[in-house]
């Protein structure tokens, strides 16, 4: 690994407030190129906000975020250019309901990367084949299952050739039997070396694919380490309590 690949994404002292509520408190995080980092923690612990800050969907109040050697939080960057390099997938899919699957996937490549319709559609067809939905390209999202919609949302993000993917609890809105198809797709991304930051409640999945797991508690990364260590011998009391509750709920 070269020096540049180390700390491909870096958060330094990031603080984010919503009015009086501190959602992220002095957060430091470093993600190397090709690394998969999972964020775990209770709802409201700041996982989603952290991802949204990296994609500049939320401005940070203090600290800085560096992606690929470029500080993106100083207000002097082309926000749209940064976002094109960073794909994000949301819990609620957020596909465009008035567009077909094909249109959903090709919109951004055509409008922001200047691809012709033909080029964009060729790329989209490749992606659709990869996610196993070639036959759905002319469907509207409401004709698809939740799992299929989420796979399309992932393909839509991948169509921009992102250097980093942010996944925000992407299986939380899915029926249990649809979770596997989405997780398999993410597993495929780890195999091609995609750098990813994943907020998730799927602990066994996190344990399987994460190079590093971060436990967030009340806006602070309370503990981070290799998956094996976090899940088997967590150092912090709060981490132990959180994992105990997860085990109780039968999700690990």
């Amino acid at each position: 690994m070269s020096v540049a690949d180390k700390g491909f994404v870096r958060l330094e002292g990031v603080t984010k407030r919503f009015d009086d509520l501190v959602v992220l408190r002095n957060v430091d995080l470093s993600v190397d190129l090709h690394q998969v980092v999972c964020l775990i923690g209770a709802s409201g612990s700041g996982k989603s906000t952290l991802l949204r800050c990296i994609n500049l969907l939320e401005p940070v109040d203090e600290g800085r975020i560096v992606v690929d050697g470029q500080t993106i939080t100083n207000g002097a960057v082309d926000v749209n250019a940064i976002r094109r390099k960073i794909g994000i997938v949301f819990q609620a899919f957020n596909l465009f309901p008035h567009m077909t699957v094909m249109q959903n996937i090709t919109l951004a490549p055509r409008k922001t990367r200047g691809l012709s319709k033909k080029e964009a559609e060729a790329g989209a067809r490749e992606l659709l084949a990869r996610i196993g939905l070639e036959d759905k390209s002319n469907e509207y999202p409401d004709r698809l299952s939740g799992g299929q919609q989420q796979r399309v949302a992932i393909a839509r993000a991948l169509a921009m050739d992102p250097r980093l993917m942010l996944l925000d609890e992407i299986t939380s809105a899915l029926d249990p039997q649809l979770v596997a198809e989405v997780l398999n797709l993410v597993r495929g991304l780890t195999e091609v070396g995609m750098t990813m930051i994943i907020a998730t409640h799927e602990m066994s999945f996190a344990r399987e694919i994460a190079d590093k797991v971060c436990f967030l508690d009340q806006g602070v990364i309370l503990e981070e380490g290799p998956a094996q260590q976090i899940f088997t011998e967590p150092r912090e009391q709060r981490t132990r309590e959180f994992l105990a509750r997860i085990i109780e709920a039968g999700r690990l």
Binding site: L57, P97, L107, R156
Partner: protein
Amino acid sequence: MGKFLHLFFSPLGLRRAIPQVWDGFQTNIKMMLIAEALVLVFALVVAIIRGLPGRTTFPLRAIAIAYTDFFRGTPLILVAYVFGLGLPALQLAVISNQSLVTYGVLSLTIVYTAYVTEVYRAGIESVHPSQRMAARSLGLTYAQTMRHVILPQAIRRVVPPLLNDFIGLQKDTAIITVIGVTDALAQAGFYSNDFFSYAGYMAAAFFFVILTIPFARFTDHLVKERERRERAQLV
């Protein structure tokens, strides 16, 4: 009863009134079509301006808000007088030399743009913020997000209330008669003066009604068609 029928619905009276009122009604149709086309465009522009982000756009937004507030609150008949009688009285080049129909269209457009702006705005605000977020997260600009993601969804949602305002506009073309446009209502008035019969007004009412009904059905059809297309499997 006999007197009523005679005054309003005498067959001879209607037969004579209908062609005469139709002459005037063509002017109503003309004003309506031009005003509606202009309103569709201008109202969208004002609605977009009202929703612009950022502090620097505040003056633009303020103008848009003042405009909608003012013209939604002003009676059309008053606006028609001001433009139809006032502008010619100014004796300015171009501005004062337009036809009465033009002043009529101007009045209708200005007043109804203020209404329809609010309709568009409600539609824009009804699109869930997560749609905007998803579009922006892909690197689309504010304008691209508006154009490709927000507006298509917003506009399709506001078709029924938009139609409602247009039915109002169609009827209100009759108000323009006060500045001297020879429309259906004016012709009906001439007719009643000449023949002592209200059949002219009945003929005018008939024309206005048969214009709005197909309009309403057509829009229902459009909405259904689009829903069907979105739900149907396209191959």
